[in-house]
Subunit: 606 residues, 2 copies
């Protein structure tokens, strides 16, 4: 039965309903945003499309973060804000989706065409009659942006916007003057599903690239595969897994790609983090004679805390829509078709590489007395045991984003972090979005058990976006919120080497009161101070069941950081000593043979 | 003694210190923002300039709101954010300062020049090597924007930016690559104060305009003066007051200008709000034969709730840097010099107008039984009695922004609202900024008593920006925070006529727990449900003393709104009836003779 009949739609529907039905068809069932003077006409249409819900975020930036987190799991999200004040508040979140390849349609309700033509000085304008200023701003962080004007083509424009956001996995900006919301369009258009297929690659170019890659794969003695963030975003998890399984090459993930590759594969080696990778990872990747990076987001990337790049020149980088092979650039090659062609042609018998199982990821088992205070290093090692199949694990930029890389992800779990854009506070919104997504995924699948959503966020970061926890409470969502309380912006404090700088301090909150303040009734809030507290928590089978929202305040010493950050600091100190001067924190330090240190009194038993 | 000597400055200081000393010279002593990877080098310099403080906001949007509120009282503010994520989060607040004429220097710490030249893929970039994208975005909502590049002229560039922000009362954007922060500049430059004087007006043009205005002032039979928002922002309060006193013309304020004109002047008539003005105000303004608008921000302005404009064509609009006289536009006339010239030439003996004292602003005194539930109409009338000299009264866009216009402001009190830009949640940040400003004003003046800062914010609006209350707690600031709890976005709910639309609902918080959650120790939190509760509160002399931070949750029925909003709704209903169809909420309705209604059982005794 076609869509219009099964949904009992009339012959004509409003443009607003048409837009929402398109999202329903994509199983993107939660719409994010806030109401405002110029978008409520659109929101009124949402109520007419059963099966969709309005998230009702607490502010626009959080809405954008939530839409981003949701889209990372469901492929696309829709966010609705209002002209001027609303859309501008969201823009930093949209820029994050742009930087990190997340499919998002940002719909902005605009003043009616008539007011724009007359340049009426309306509320939420800059007072200068310029209605296009926000559109120009939005265009800087969108792969496509348009202001709807033509009544006759508005359904086609909606389809075009959604298709672009889906295929390119980037934000699209669509401004709709409120008078066009009521435009009637033929519902029959919905019976033709959106064409989300990629345009086919040029066969000649594709063949040339595939042959080159295969030739290098066959002859390499020490090849590696790196699975990067766009493996998830551009839907090539299956292809990348097949490639790893059939070649048996050692396979690593980047921090942003963590969760795409099954970490129980025998050839899975861990997380490659450039200069701060564990030595067993760094050695293999840096001495590889061929590196194949699948779903590459960035080839070379610097943060204040590490430098990320590949040593060998024998490198094939498969970007979402292009390939860089050694120094040659091949534009307009879509990764999915390319990988399919590669797998079709791959002949395992020609591979020279002698399979040595990659050294397994080392999770040191350490024991500490139960009254011992907590340490990052210890906690992250413990976490691997507590994670379970299907978990969605979200880590904030900061100490958590480093710590998570030393954990082992169980089968079918997924990581969410924003390592490139790195907007502090992002994960609180993203956690809400992930909870909505998981909720819908449980409904769609046969298993009644909902995936757990687990958030690790610092106390500093939480303060930026805290009110979105209220939306989780409002919807009865049940994430685990681990607040890594180290009393301020520790990662910056640590890297900037000025632990006494007061600008890293934050106000001390009574975090355990937050859920009650936001109106939660069924919840758990507990403070974890010692090793004993922590073990009691993770060993409790009731705690493992996500049957209520939980806030766990993990007390950590202010200058305690995960091993990876510590390593980075040591590298820097060494290079400074050698240079005999202070280098800036942002300069990528030369690699050096790293001395791994253990935090004070940890006692590795393995 | 000159500045360098009295501050014991060395011969050369860093550019970072130079910038902060300039703000110190302007008595702008609180610097707003958040730390980030590319601005801590600058923040380190702040600590070297005694007398300044770093506000340490909880997120960038709130920082921008706070800087805006602060600058409305102190003339200029400085906000520091970090490249990309930080600055984009703040942009909606900056746009508000742009729309509403607020002097702000937005300093953004940027990656070092070398990284920009090499297009390194750094953290917080869009991943495409484009470092100017944020600059382009910022330029859309700044009167001037620049990326510092020339080491030899960097001190001059700082001076230029600050001067423009001060004189034009608009945001200026200054990007500083972190490597330039340490540039040494001669401290002697500080001994020459910034030249904040306006360029003189062209004498011929000024004279022509002054003569025309005087001619109309002399012959008018029913003239009025309207004092608008830019009277405060462009520092012409004294000139406007003198004009009102010497002419004895009836003088009104706009909602955005409230607080500039002393409301105890015998010729003060109340607040002109266009189509929703009280009838006694609307009659005088609409039937005036000459309207002189001083400090005009907008001549003609529509919101979803009212239309604001002047009926007569005999209108002189004094904008900050131009004049519109009838249909003639005179650009490049600065308001301050113009008013000075007008006052010099004004000869009161030539005025034809027969002074009739303007009908005083009517504050109905109503009595209600003490167990009665609260009503907007009643509360706002009561508030006039509780306000006291010097109060800073901040009202959120929404019901409060309407209610406040029926109150009477005591001498030397000041209103803050954001009627044009209308960004929901603005006032929580602005309240923080006002508290800092008042704190410094108390220090600078002889009176040890600090002005009270009084915030009226809806429950919906508070949720957007709530964490900034934590910064008030952190600094021991002592505002009154009245939460007008009407369970959702009432003003929109009311105007959109769909009270049942679920997108106007918000999560119910336990607001009284907020201060404790944010770590407050000395505070008051109380819920005000009945008329008796309210009277007990405002009649308590202890309550009137701002000796601690206070949160007052005022319980109001969801669909209860101030009279002005009710009037607007009635007008609309009438015009719809006449038109026989549904008009859109945003269309300015034709004026009609309004029937003033009283909410159900209020009993006016006066």
């Amino acid at each position: 039965m076609n869509y219009t009949r099964s949904n009992e739609l009339p012959h004509d529907i409003t443009l607003g309903e048409f837009l929402f039905h398109r999202f329903k068809q994509l199983h993107s069932e939660t719409i994010f945003g806030l109401p405002g003077a110029f978008n409520t006409q659109l929101l009124d249409k949402l109520a007419k499309v059963p099966g969709l819900r309005w998230a009702g975020n607490t502010n626009e930036l959080n809405a954008a973060y939530a839409a981003d987190g949701y889209a990372r799991l469901k492929g696309i999200a829709c966010m609705i804000t209002t002209f001027g004040v609303g859309e501008l508040s969201a823009i930093n979140g949209v820029a994050g989706s742009f930087a990190e390849h997340v499919g998002l349609l940002h719909v902005v309700g605009m003043p009616p065409t008539s007011a724009q033509t007359k340049q009426l000085l309306l509320n939420h304008t800059l007072g200068n009659g310029d209605y296009k200023v926000f559109y120009r701003i939005a265009s800087e962080v969108a792969c496509y942006s348009t202001l709807m004007a033509d009544q006759d083509l508005c359904a086609e424009e909606v389809d075009d916007c959604i298709t672009r956001a889906w295929i390119l996995q980037k934000p699209v900006y669509l401004g709709i003057p409120i008078n066009l919301i009521e435009t009637m369009v033929s519902s029959a258009k919905l019976d033709k599903p959106l064409n989300l297929k990629l345009p086919p690659n040029d066969k000649h170019i594709e063949e040339e690239v595939v042959n080159q890659i295969l030739q290098h794969m066959y002859k390499a003695k020490n090849p590696v595969i790196i699975s990067d963030a766009c493996v998830i975003r551009h839907h090539v998890v299956a292809e990348t897994t097949e490639l790893s399984t059939r070649t048996r090459f050692p396979v690593y993930t980047t921090p942003m790609g963590k969760g795409a590759i099954d970490e129980s594969l025998p050839n899975f080696g861990g997380v490659f983090m450039g200069s701060i990778s564990p030595p067993e990872v760094r050695e293999v990747v840096n001495f590889a004679d061929f590196v194949l990076v699948v779903g590459c987001m960035l080839a070379d990337f610097s943060t204040s805390s590490f430098h990320f790049g590949y040593k060998t020149k024998e490198c094939a980088l498969l970007f979402p829509t292009s390939v860089k092979f050694k120094h040659a650039i091949y534009p307009d090659l879509h990764i999915k078709s390319l990988l399919e062609a590669l797998l079709r042609k791959l002949d395992e018998s020609k591979i020279k590489y002698k399979c040595q199982p990659a050294p397994p990821m080392i999770i040191p088992k350490s024991q500490l007395p139960s009254r011992h205070t907590l340490r990052h290093e210890w906690i992250w090692n413990q976490m691997s045991n507590w994670f379970q199949q299907g978990d969605i694990i979200i880590t904030e930029t900061g100490t958590s984003a480093f710590g998570i890389n030393q954990t082992h992800f169980p089968y079918d779990s997924r990581g969410i972090s924003q390592a490139l854009w790195g907007s502090v506070g992002y994960t609180v919104g993203a956690c809400l979005g992930a909870c909505f997504a998981v909720d819908e995924m449980a409904k769609d699948s046969l298993s009644p058990v909902s995936r757990r959503v687990i958030l690790f966020v610092g106390d500093g970061a939480l303060q930026l976006t805290v009110q979105e926890v209220s939306t989780m409470v409002r919807w009865g969502l049940k994430p685990y919120i681990f607040i890594m309380n180290n009393q301020g912006y520790s990662v910056d404090r640590f890297l900037h080497h000025r632990s006494n700088a007061s600008y890293y301090d934050i106000q001390t909150w009574d975090y355990l009161r937050l859920l009650a303040t936001f109106g939660a009734r069924s919840y758990e809030a507990r403070k974890i101070v010692t090793v004993g507290d922590f073990l009691e928590m993770v060993q409790d089978p009731h705690f493992a069941r996500n049957d209520k929202i939980r806030m766990l305040e993990i007390m950590l010493p202010p200058m305690d950081v995960p091993q990876a950050l510590m390593d980075r600091w040591l590298t820097e100190q060494e290079s400074k000593k050698r240079a005999g001067e202070e280098t800036d924190a942002y300069t990528p330090s030369p690699e050096s043979s790293l001395k791994r240190i253990r935090s004070d009194d940890l006692t590795p038993t393995d």
